[in-house]
């Protein structure tokens, strides 16, 4: 374990050197993400200029849920962005052989190789949203709120990462699966709004099948109201654990099925 932490530091240092070469390019990615979020929030602002509450949720509450949804998303983006490349390029171009010859875990190696600083655009938006909404909300606060938050964030991020591992691992069989990861990634926008705006079918899917609701809405609603801790927090922990176990299983199955691309 200690060895992996040391390795990770070296990987990040290596990446930061690469980054120095393209300083402006880093900013472009972060600005792009910041702009995307800013326009979405402006859209919410326009809606709330006309109505006092969206099915019972006030503007600061909606912003809190939205901001909360970005915590797990941005952390996953920051640390595991290289998984996208597995589905888009690494397998198809036969570059995966490299990872198999190294004396470290393949999944860890793929993930550690890249450190996606673009995600700071999302992290900044998230900080602004939570910083704006929290003082306006009367959130219940206990000694265990912060430790709970940390646990929830870890498991919520695991949900994202696991889904990305699974969809990337499909490319071990099909050579390319970036489009499947993309499709799933578009679906995570469902997490940004209270689940009660969706119909029953969508609610069931994002709770029990692809548990995006546990990356944002459920834990956020616990921190908003203090109600239902067992389902909201426990559900996130269970969903994260189950997803991660499944992801590891699929990845290892895939490794066994992997045969290098000819070209």
């Amino acid at each position: 374990m200690r060895r992996y932490f040391r390795l990770h530091r070296i990987f990040i240092a290596q990446y930061l050197k690469k980054l120095m070469e393209y300083k402006v390019d880093f900013l472009l990615g972060a600005i792009g993400l910041l702009l995307t979020q800013a326009i979405q929030i402006m859209f919410l602002g326009i809606i709330f200029s006309q109505i006092p509450a969206l099915i019972g949720y006030t503007f600061p509450q909606i912003l809190f849920i939205y901001g909360f949804s970005l915590i797990a998303k941005s952390l996953d983006h920051l640390f595991t962005d290289n998984l996208w490349m597995v589905g888009y390029r690494i397998i198809r171009k036969g570059e995966f052989d490299k990872y198999l010859t190294r004396p470290i875990n393949t999944l860890y190696h793929v993930i550690a190789e890249n450190f996606c600083v673009d995600a700071f655009g999302e992290i900044l938006t998230c900080a602004l949203l939570l910083g704006y909404s929290i003082p306006k909300l009367n959130l219940p606060f206990h000694w265990y709120t912060i430790p709970l938050l940390i646990v929830v964030v870890i498991f919520a991020t695991l949900i994202y990462t696991s889904l990305k591992i699974m969809t990337s691992a499909i490319s071990f069989w099909t050579k390319a699966s970036g489009h499947i990861t993309h499709m799933l990634y578009m679906a995570n926008d469902f997490a940004k709004y209270p689940v009660s705006i969706y119909n029953k079918a969508v609610q069931t899917i994002i709770t029990y099948v692809i548990p995006f609701a546990f990356t944002a809405y459920f834990p956020a609603s616990y921190f908003l109201t203090g109600e239902n801790p067992l389902f909201c927090i426990g559900g996130t922990v269970i969903a994260g654990t189950v997803m991660f176990a499944l992801a590891l299983f699929v990845w290892h199955k895939g490794l066994n099925a992997y045969e290098s691309a000819g070209s």
């Binding site: 702009l35 489009h179 993309h182 990634y185 926008d189 119909n199």
Partner: protein, 275 residues
């Protein structure tokens, strides 16, 4: 006449290549399409909640029915006028294969255009009819009367064609950014967000402060999405339609001119570098 024939003979293979590429990567295309439709549905649910929470039947002049038509026709318009030119040009600039374009006996942007038309033909044939039919069935179910008007529909298609051409030339111009920046993902994300906003694809321009909306209406971006959608919905009067077609043609020529200018100076720039 023979010149036109030769023109099409030159570029037809590119169209065929585009179609074949699309068919070869059909799984990619279908997953991409589903992902995009999902985001349209998220917006649908958000708007449904907005109308449920509102006391009035309309939201800044739009009924729920208008809003649904707006959402899905905007989605369709955006999908059909989407042009990959900026990425394709950018990648060629970064890996240097753009140099090959200069020694070929055909116009560089026409090759891109005809190749993309091939792939567009496939996607039009797959999504256009189901999408329009879906929207019209919804309208009929909600209002109890047929709202589809063939005149507006034909004008919409014409406007859509102009929108695609403007989008194509705009994207080729934007692709030249790769001469300066290497992060194509970042520049593309910025472009898509800004264009999405300015073209009214995220928020209808009518919802913005009226001064801002008037300015945005004149910019080329409104011609990409807002104009065709408003025509489809029958929200524009005859004079507004004529004016917006004029504007679309104006922007098309402007974008075309700018592309030619940049390309000419880019060729010189590359020549100085020694190719």
């Amino acid at each position: 006449m023979s010149r036109i024939k030769r023109f099409f003979r030159t570029y037809r293979p590119f169209t065929r290549a585009g179609m074949q590429e699309m068919i070869a990567y059909r799984a990619n295309f279908i997953c991409f399409l589903i992902g995009e439709i999902l985001s349209a549905f998220i917006m649908y649910f958000v708007w449904k909640a907005v109308f449920l929470s509102s006391d009035s039947e309309t939201f800044m002049g739009f009924t729920m029915e208008d809003m649904v038509v707006y959402l899905f026709i905007t989605f369709l318009t955006g999908y059909l006028t989407y042009s990959d030119g900026s990425f394709a040009v950018g990648e060629e600039i970064i890996d240097g294969s753009i140099a090959m374009r200069m020694i070929r006996p055909c116009s560089f942007e026409m090759c891109f255009l005809f190749q993309e038309l091939g792939s567009r033909l496939i996607s039009v044939s797959m999504i256009f009819v189901p999408m329009v039919a879906g929207v019209e069935i919804y309208r009929y179910a909600v209002s109890g009367s047929v709202r589809f008007q063939i005149g507006y529909f034909l004008l919409y298609i014409l406007s859509l064609l102009f929108a695609y051409m403007i989008s194509f030339y705009f994207n080729v111009c934007y692709g030249f950014m790769a001469f300066f920046f290497k992060n194509l993902w970042g520049t593309t994300l910025i472009k898509e967000t800004v264009v999405g906003f300015l073209s009214g694809a995220i928020v209808p321009l009518a919802f913005l402060p009226s001064g801002l909306a008037q300015v945005l209406n004149l910019l080329p971006f409104a011609s990409l999405s807002y104009t065709p959608v408003m025509i489809y919905m029958g929200m524009y009067s005859t004079s507004q339609i004529l004016f917006s077609f004029g504007l679309q043609i104006f922007w098309l020529f402007t974008m075309y001119g700018v592309t030619k200018l940049i390309w000419r100076s880019a060729v010189k720039h590359l020549a100085i570098q020694g190719g």
